[in-house]
Amino acid sequence: MESSLLVVVVIVTALAFDFTNGFHDTANAMATSIATRALKPKVAVAISAVLNLAGAFLSVEVAKTISSGIVSESGITPAVIFGGLIGAIVWNLLTWFLGLPSSSSHALFGGLIGATWIAAGSGAVHFGVVFEKVIIPALASPVIAGLAAMVATYLAYVMTRRAKQASTTKGFRAGQIVTASLVSLAHGTNDAQKTMGVITLVLITGNMLGTGSGPPIWVVAACGIAMAAGTYIGGWRVIRTLGKGLTDIQSPQGFAAEVSSTAVILASSHLGFALSTTHVCSGSVLGAGLGRRLAEVRWGVAGKMAVAWLLTLPAAAVVGAIAGETASQGSLGTILVAAAGLVIAVGFYLASRRNPVDAKNVNETEQMPAEAPAPVG
């Protein structure tokens, strides 16, 4: 395939990934605020969308090294990146359909690792770096966030024990608006950059940008807008699981969870850990559930999430490998992969219509998305 056409295809696919990243991760920032009714669902996703867009423009530090040394960048071709993106998109759609919060970053890394492995051999994948920069933070960050949220929740309840119930709820709800916004802003600065990095890398490999260039402004804008649009659409299935499925969140818990998420994200990005906002936020919600005495944590839901996390990297890697290898065969292969991606996306969308979750029923719990019928897509 003519390389410039392939570059265009990859850019479109990257923006599609950014879109799924947006709607998959709305839950991270807003699930707890929606569940405690601190914000109306539509208002919450609108705020989150605007802040994600703003966040995209704030910093391009992460975008400069997209692969973070996980794969050898010399082995990366546009076809490999294309395959990796398709792997990430398919996994994001599957987990969204099942209502499971899983890491978009891990899906992207997994897709890239799989595609690179097949294209350039296992030597091109730096497993040491994967372990150090992806696996360890993935295991540690939810524990840290959960612990902080648990202690903070316990404190919040003990300290406001003698306060009036109504003013406590009102006060923490007001606080939640601020903290949820902070999570959204931090998310925008982190996640939109990954896609910017991918597109920049494609432009460099296609000789349209000089080596070592930062993302051009139109890339920053396109990524910010794609993510904001996805965020505004709202991944209601994931929001319901995180806000209502894991535990019943009250406003002091929501506040503590959001503060903890922000603190962990900021502290670790300041020290250069690439972590998943999804893992951090899920850990916080779980911790907040444990911190309130008598609060019920649904371990079955937590277990399903943990399984999804474990599968994210390898599953996206397998799809990425197949897609990358097929796309490397030439124009026909690329078209085949793009068509398959579209069919899968439409399939999940149609399947989701049979049991829709939207702004209206996001806070109802009688039918958990995790028990939805098996996917047909």
């Binding site: 966040g55 704030l58 910093s59 530090e61 040491g128 372990f131 150090e132 360890i136 933070p137 540690a140 960050s141 840290i144 966030a145 612990l147 902080a148 949220a149 202690v151 903070a152 929740t153 404190l155 919040a156 300290m159 406001t160 003698r162 306060a163 009036k164 003013s167 406590t168 006060g171 923490f172 606080g175 601020v178 903290t179 902070l182 802003l185 931090a186 600065t189 002091p252 506040f255 503590a256 503060v259 903890s260 922000t262 603190a263 962990v264 900021l266 502290a267 670790s268 990005s269 300041h270 020290l271 250069g272 850990f273």
Partner: protein, 74 residues
Amino acid sequence: MHIDWSSLGLVAVVALVATTVLVALFATGIQALSRRERAAEAGRSDAVATVTAGTSFLLCAAIVLYGIYLIVLG
């Protein structure tokens, strides 16, 4: 392979301390605000509660602003 345990430990400590301090401050503010409301309902005014609430929320705002500063410059 090199796992940076000290940075990881630092993240844990910073996150734990920052979260606890901010939530404790906010809870103090809410508790004080509630005391102020009760006093007002009884027709009294509680200056200590007012000052405590104001100070707590101001400190919270300062921490949040520092967080935004970190996001923008991070």
